[in-house]
């Protein structure tokens, strides 16, 4: 008899059959409780204004309307901010962004609720508004205090460097565009209770915010989430407001209330990835090796703090990506604008910081006329003393040289670069480019106390198991991975383990399912619970059957007791008869991590996840249109818990990153209204945008050096940053289109428009140079 192998098996997603038959229930699919009302919000038509007069009498009198709610009507606090109390659920007295929720209604149908909110009469008195990052920089509108990390003496070292460059570039934000928009269904219970079904990555925070808005104790609010139709960070804090409005309306009317955002409302009301401006100064030697570097990162926070502090911190933590800086200073500003409050998005600032240094490396290479890959390699972390990050953490598990060697070979980077250069000489309009870039991404919440998780396992007397933990399922495959971990530990088939919805009444005080940490933490907590249960059963069986504890072996659906053998069903029944507790909790706190924010010094990450990508792009120099022709990804997931799921995360992360850096452009009017608020104007990747030749591999030698669950590594966010190779390949194609004239000026996303401008700007440089030469 062999051990049951559930871990490392490429099992399908736990809801696979439900998904393909349309039976997987999302919040909007739940049967509506009797008397259920539907909510809608009235949104601000101004970016920054005082509300002079608000007359909602026509709204209240509209057909089907049962209740109208303003910020003044909240039984508790009208506050949804996750960290600071600086964000009202419904604006009072003044508005801080175009599209902000000002009031809400509950009506007998969705349609009637939406019609009613259009009837409000609101007079505004405009106040000065900062819409874009530049406006906020010009006005010195800091949302939070600036922050700095430093090591060594960058100014002095830079003065001694043989080469020096400085520059600045912009990179855009990103809308989550989860296919399932934000939604909550709140049902009032007895004695002040409130049950909420929410599409949220953070049920505990929704519980806290709902309780806060209702003025109730947390224990009276229960939040449940079985699955989300995509989260990507957009349902980490942004679900708070939706649930809070639904719950307060439910309290006010005494009836269940469903609040589902229409797509345009979702895009104008809820936060996005932060756009950044990054300034740099860098000193380096002939090989392109960085001697000193300074970064100025400016993040557009929007109108409230939300998670901007932690996001801007993570951008700083990734300003080094995979490279050692002998002398470094990173300054970060978090700016306030009168636009929607920007929020978590897969990577949480990491992608922005990382794109910054990859741009700098590319600039260095072009300045020296070297292959950017050689400059990347020259700057990689190495043995001490070249292993210290700007925040003084030692990089102990640096496997990137191996990964990059392998990818350079398997992608044929060198030969293809030569072939592309030859091809470009014969192609007058279309030009190709290639790039190979690494990713090093820190795993753990940098807010150290969030690195904890809990789980609950219940064994029933028929041998079946109910599994619950604090993690939420948004498609990333967390639930099946944790199920696999428990199945292997208890040695029972996954079919006997019932996965249940995240529920604040089962596992409390949970952290958000975010920072790629879902499996690391909840998997460990569930493992701990399974072990506790196993220990109790082992002790009981050893005593009852007179065998030593080490002879009690759980194996392939059975329990072996020396010569004797029984099923888990039999053992569960016997243990119950003997009054042994069959329910166990488990808990996990990530070890080793600490960070002193005042000193910018510590070990914020348990470990790093690594990967590398090689992309080839083609551009049309007459239109700026561009495509990724081929992408080779090699990514380290440690020892994979589920290769099928991990591969999906790698591909999907890359595709989402590709959208961020190429087609997804958020556009605000000068009045501060988001013009790109539907798929008609906001372009996420579709099937035909994929690289024609897409080669994805999990790094076979991957193994987490730290004692993570089965030595696996987190995989949610890191692959998104593999798409930086695509951006750099497009930039390479632009440079190759107009050779010998320096580095292209290209901000992200590389839309056709920006690519065309960059080509033309380079050509302009050529013309200017030719003129100068002619004059000589």
């Amino acid at each position: 008899m062999t051990r049951l192998q559930a871990v490392a098996a490429p099992l399908p997603h736990d809801s696979a059959e439900l998904h393909v038959t349309g039976r997987a229930r999302y919040v909007d699919d739940l049967p509506e409780p009797q008397g259920c009302l539907h909510a809608a919000v009235g949104q601000s038509a101004r970016a920054h204004a005082r509300i002079v007069r608000m007359d909602l009498s026509r709204v209240a009198a509209a057909p089907g309307v049962v209740a109208v709610l303003t910020g003044a009507d909240f039984p508790g606090l009208n506050q949804i901010g996750p960290v600071l109390l600086d964000e009202p659920a419904l604006a009072q007295h003044s508005v801080d962004y175009h599209g902000q929720a000002v009031f809400a209604v509950a009506a007998t149908s969705y349609e009637l609720a939406r019609r009613a909110v259009t009837l409000a009469e609101i007079d505004y008195e405009d106040l000065p508004a900062a819409i874009h990052l530049e406006d906020a920089l010009a006005e010195n509108l800091d949302l939070l205090l600036p922050y700095e990390m430093r090591r060594g003496d960058p100014d002095a070292a830079m003065a001694r460097s043989a080469h020096f460059l400085e520059g600045s570039f912009r990179l855009g934000g990103q809308d989550h565009f989860y296919l399932e928009g934000q939604i909550a269904l709140a049902a009032p219970g007895e004695d002040g209770g409130m049950d909420v079904h929410a599409s949220t990555q953070h049920p505990t925070e929704v519980q806290h915010v709902v309780a806060r808005c209702l003025g109730e104790i947390d224990a009276k609010v229960r939040v449940e989430c079985r699955r989300m139709g995509g989260g990507f960070g957009g349902k980490e804090t942004q679900a708070n407001q939706i649930a809070a409005i639904a719950a307060v309306l439910a309290r006010k009317t005494g009836r269940p209330v469903k609040f589902r955002l229409d797509r345009d409302v979702d895009m104008t009301l809820t936060g996005k990835r932060h756009d950044f401006r990054i300034d740099y100064r860098v000193g380096f030697d002939e090989d392109g090796r960085i001697e000193a570097i300074t970064f100025g990162q400016a993040a557009r926070g929007g109108c409230s703090a939300d998670l901007t502090g932690a996001i801007a911190d993570r951008a700083m933590f990734h300003a080094d990506n995979a490279y050692f800086f002998p002398h470094v200073r990173i300054r970060s500003r978090r700016l306030k604008t009168h636009t929607v409050s920007n929020t978590a998005f897969r990577g949480f600032g990491g992608p922005q910081g990382m794109l910054g240094i990859e741009e700098v490396i590319d600039e260095i290479a072009r300045h020296l006329g070297r292959d950017p890959l050689d400059v990347r390699r020259a700057n990689l972390y190495g043995p001490a003393p070249r292993n210290l990050t700007p925040y003084h953490m030692e990089v102990e598990d640096f496997v990137l040289p191996e990964i990059m060697d392998e990818l350079e070979q398997s992608s044929g980077y060198r030969e293809r670069r030569a072939a592309i250069e030859a091809w470009n000489r014969t192609s007058p309009v279309l030009k190709r480019g290639i790039a190979l870039t690494p990713v090093k991404f820190g795993i753990s919440f940098t807010t150290s106390h969030l690195n904890q998780a809990g789980a609950l396992i219940q064994l029933y007397t028929d041998g079946s198991v109910l599994l619950n933990h604090g993690g939420t399922e948004m498609g990333q495959g967390l639930y099946v991975k944790v199920q696999q971990i428990v199945a292997e530990e208890l040695q029972i088939p996954t079919g006997l383990i019932r996965i249940t919805a995240a529920d604040t009444s089962k596992v409390p005080n949970t952290s958000p399912t975010a920072a790629s940490s879902g499996t690391d933490m909840n998997g460990m907590a569930a493992l701990a619970a399974a072990r506790t249960l196993k220990e109790r059963l082992t002790t009981f069986a050893a005593e009852k059957y007179g065998v030593p504890a080490h002879k009690v072996v759980f194996q392939d659906g059975a329990i072996l007791l020396g010569e004797h053998r029984m099923s888990l069903r039999e053992l569960a029944k016997e243990a119950w008869m003997a009054r042994v507790q069959l329910s166990a909790t488990g808990y996990y706190a990530t070890p080793k991590i600490h960070y002193d924010r005042d000193q910018a010094h510590g070990r914020p990450f348990y470990y790093f996840a690594y990967g590398a990508a090689c992309c080839e792009a083609v551009i049309d120099t007459l239109t700026g249109e561009n495509r990724i022709l081929r992408a080779d990804l090699l990514h380290d997931v440690g020892r994979s818990l589920n290769p099928a799921i991990d591969r999906g995360q790698i591909e999907g992360g890359f595709v989402q990153g590709l959208g961020w850096l190429t087609t997804e452009e958020l556009w605000w009017t000068k009045e501060g209204a988001l013009a790109s608020h539907a798929p008609s104007t906001y372009k996420i990747p579709c099937a035909s945008d994929l690289p024609r030749d897409f080669r994805v591999a999990i790094w076979e030698r991957g193994r987490n050096q730290e004692r993570s669950v089965h030595r696996s590594k987190a995989v949610g966010e890191p692959p998104l940053m593999l798409a930086i190779a695509a951006f750099q390949a497009i930039k390479d194609a632009i440079a190759q289109a107009v050779p010998g004239r320096g580095s292209p000026r290209l901000d992200a996303p590389a839309t056709p428009e920006r690519v065309l401008f960059a080509v033309n700007e380079l050509r302009g440089r050529t013309a200017a140079l030719d003129l100068a030469r002619a004059a000589e």
Binding site: R23, G229, A687
Partner: protein, 175 residues
């Protein structure tokens, strides 16, 4: 013959024209319904007939999550008014499996992990079934192009294309 089902919701009181009778065959069952002229097929399916498999992603006909088959042709149910379909036959994701057996496209989606969050999946599957019936796609490139109206934010496209390809080529391993 079934009794006519009327809109159970309270009167909307807006003085607009009343419900219109239509006959639809939905997943093989004939339904006689009275629907408001502005009711979309998607709302009819989801709100009245409890067929919640088809999803509302954008409500603008631009994401494809609501894709269903009308007389074997794929349409965006959110842009199709129910009253326009009098006499038509509608197949939703719930109607694809026959006699407890998944449709080959459903099988292939499971086999290839052609989804993550699953929200676009019913639309992808209906779209793929329609595409296969059209017989227009022959290569992976053509599948990508002709499936480009169905967005997947999780980016499971590689596996979606592989699943469609498998059914197209008739190379399914079966389960």
């Amino acid at each position: 013959m079934q009794a006519t089902e009327t809109d159970p919701r309270p009167g909307n009181g807006t003085g607009e024209p009343g419900p219109i009778p239509v006959v639809l065959t939905i997943n093989g069952t004939e339904r006689r319904l009275e629907v408001e002229p502005w009711t979309t097929l998607l709302d009819l399916l989801r709100e009245r007939l409890d067929l919640t498999g088809s999803k509302k992603g954008c409500d603008h006909g631009q994401c494809g999550a609501c894709t269903v088959l009308v007389d074997d042709r794929r349409v965006n149910a959110c842009l199709t008014l129910a009253v326009m379909l009098d006499g038509a036959s509608v197949t939703t994701v719930e109607g694809l499996a026959q006699d407890g057996q998944l449709h080959p496209v459903q099988d292939a989606f499971v086999e290839h992990d052609a989804f993550q969050c699953g929200y676009c999946t019913p639309g992808q599957i209906c779209s793929a079934v329609g595409l296969l019936k059209e017989g227009r796609a022959r290569s992976d490139d053509e599948i990508r192009e002709l499936m480009s109206g169905n967005l997947c934010r999780c980016g499971a496209y590689v596996n979606i294309v592989a699943a469609v390809r498998q059914v197209m080529d008739g190379t399914g391993a079966g389960r």
